[in-house]
């Protein structure tokens, strides 16, 4: 049973650039959530996608956007990168009937220089 996968594993960007992170949900799951985990902190909710639409959003600026594809995979895009965007970005998948029971991928470590 394939779990949640994310790519790439690591990424280094410079301030002002744009980045795209990718996530494939656990087999059978239809809902994808994204979280940002700064060093030494707990993850913070960015947004959640279901049926290719953003359903919930946390307290993140519009520079953070996403997309969900018909096969339920998802992308997280961040524009105009800031140093403070350096973090571990985690993707989690779940079923629509139990959206809060989430299974996490290994994350993408983003470093902004």
């Amino acid at each position: 049973d394939a779990g949640v996968t994310q790519s790439p594993t690591h990424l280094i960007k410079t301030r002002g650039q744009q980045v795209t992170l990718r996530c494939s949900p656990k087999s059978g799951h239809d809902t994808v959530s994204w979280y940002q985990q700064a060093l030494g902190q707990g993850p913070q909710f960015i947004f959640q996608y279901y049926e290719e639409e953003e359903r919930q959003r946390g307290n993140f600026p519009d520079r953070f956007s996403g997309h969900q594809f018909p096969n339920y995979s998802s992308e997280l895009n961040v524009n105009a990168l800031l140093l403070g965007d350096s973090a571990l970005y985690l993707c989690a998948s779940s079923l629509v009937g139990s959206r809060d029971t989430q299974y996490f991928g290994p994350g993408t470590r983003l470093t902004v220089l």
Binding site: G42, F45, S98, D100, Q102
Partner: protein
């Protein structure tokens, strides 16, 4: 507003001794509560979930947690620590199945001494 407070940022135990990681929550609704574990440079693994079926919840790897509404607590325990339990543990709250945003505590780092 919902929140969780993990009362200890760091807990150190000896191998074979009991583990207690403390968590208090605040919620206007009947919450769902979780514990997740994160090993170094790894993603988060779900240890256990409380809904409302039973106040004592058993999870993986011998962990369990007890929901106490009167104390607004959801402490995580394990009778005997193993070296492989060394990791970061997060207490998490949500408003329930229809709401997708999980709210994490700041984490408790568990160290296990030989």
């Amino acid at each position: 507003a919902q929140s969780v407070t993990q009362l200890d940022s760091h807990v150190s135990v000896s191998e074979g001794t009991p583990v207690l990681l403390r968590c208090n929550y605040s919620s206007s609704y009947s919450p769902s509560l979780f514990w997740y574990v994160q090993h170094p440079n790894k993603g988060l693994q779900l240890l256990l979930k409380y809904t409302s079926a039973a106040t004592l919840v058993k999870g993986i790897n011998g962990f369990e947690a007890e929901f106490k509404k009167s104390e607004t607590s959801f402490h995580l325990t394990k009778p005997s620590a193993h070296m492989s339990d060394a990791a970061e543990y997060f207490c998490v709250v949500s408003q329930g199945g229809s709401q997708g945003n999980l709210i994490f505590g700041k984490g408790t780092k568990l160290s296990v001494k030989p």
